[in-house]
Symmetry: C2
Subunit: 180 residues, 2 copies
């Protein structure tokens, strides 16, 4: 079956600090026209920082869109022209103070492909050293070490809701078991 | 540490078909003011439809924001006033034709808490019957049965990128093993 939609026209609705919003007119496989709203995002990198004794270094921060404090793995937006692996190392150090001895790309995820092009590149960091955080000015966060064996419990109890962090937890669990 | 940000003012930038965009001025814990861009979304439900013989019923559809055909688990937006479990049953039947004998809420996820309030409620559906899909007019999708044991491979090979579907795959894997 033909599934692709071709772009007939696009209009920028909003140019923001972090996101841009576009309204597209697209042609469906049956020839009909419809609109698509697309939130453009620069992309991001997330780190699953695994300590030698089986913990993950996490951060608690307030997320205005969901109006709550979220327990997440360290992550941040790509600077212009920045390589994802470089962004991962930078965000790990800025947010937690830890430096990665080794950093490995695992997968890249589309967070909301129905309305946004945001991609998050996920890395596992090991051989961690340091631990004195240097957050950006006006970035408020708390660091928390969580045992990998507790992460899945926290997810199923509803205490971790952030999609990228949930994926990071499953990755950490498999990583320390040598899977897949 | 104080982490919360209070809203000083909000302005609607865009009212769309599916999303609205707001620009907020917030007060940081240190008293300074800054802006936050928030994409409001009605929320959605996703189903992990597990067959008795260890497959998951999935759909392939084109996603304009990421310009590719994605392999996903059945999902859709909540209609106004609709209960998430009802939405899950409806989307399963509309997209795949299957009816759920049993539907269980597992977790709810925030897809992009940095810029959006989208929540996806995730259900496991079992006791599946039927299988004649009735997609919405102008909804183009293909159904694919994937062995649960192949899902994790597809993720690590980079062939499944959708965040909610990756979480659904890990949930399916644990569900059939009776974990956690």
């Amino acid at each position: 079956m033909e599934l692709e939609e071709s772009t007939v026209s696009s209009e920028t609705i909003y140019k923001g600090k972090i996101i841009n919003v576009e309204k597209l007119i697209v042609q469906l496989p049956n020839g009909k026209l419809t609109t698509r709203e697309v939130v453009r995002h620069p992309g991001a990198a997330m780190v699953v920082p695994i300590t030698d004794d089986g913990y993950v270094i996490m951060v608690r921060q307030f997320r205005k869109p969901v109006e709550k404090v979220c327990l997440e793995m360290p992550a941040g937006k790509l600077d212009e022209g920045e390589e994802p692996a470089e962004c991962a190392r930078r965000e790990l150090e800025e947010e937690t103070g830890y430096r990665a001895g080794k950093i490995e790309h695992i997968i890249s995820i589309d967070t909301s492909p129905g309305f946004s092009d945001e991609v998050i590149h996920i890395y596992v960091a090991t051989g961690l050293t340091g631990g004195e955080s240097k957050p950006d000015n006006d970035e408020f966060l708390e660091i928390e070490k969580v045992k990998i064996s507790d992460l899945i419990k926290l997810i199923y109890q509803g205490n971790i809701n952030d999609a990228k962090t949930i994926i990071g937890a499953f990755i950490a669990e498999k990583y320390v078991r040598g899977l897949p």
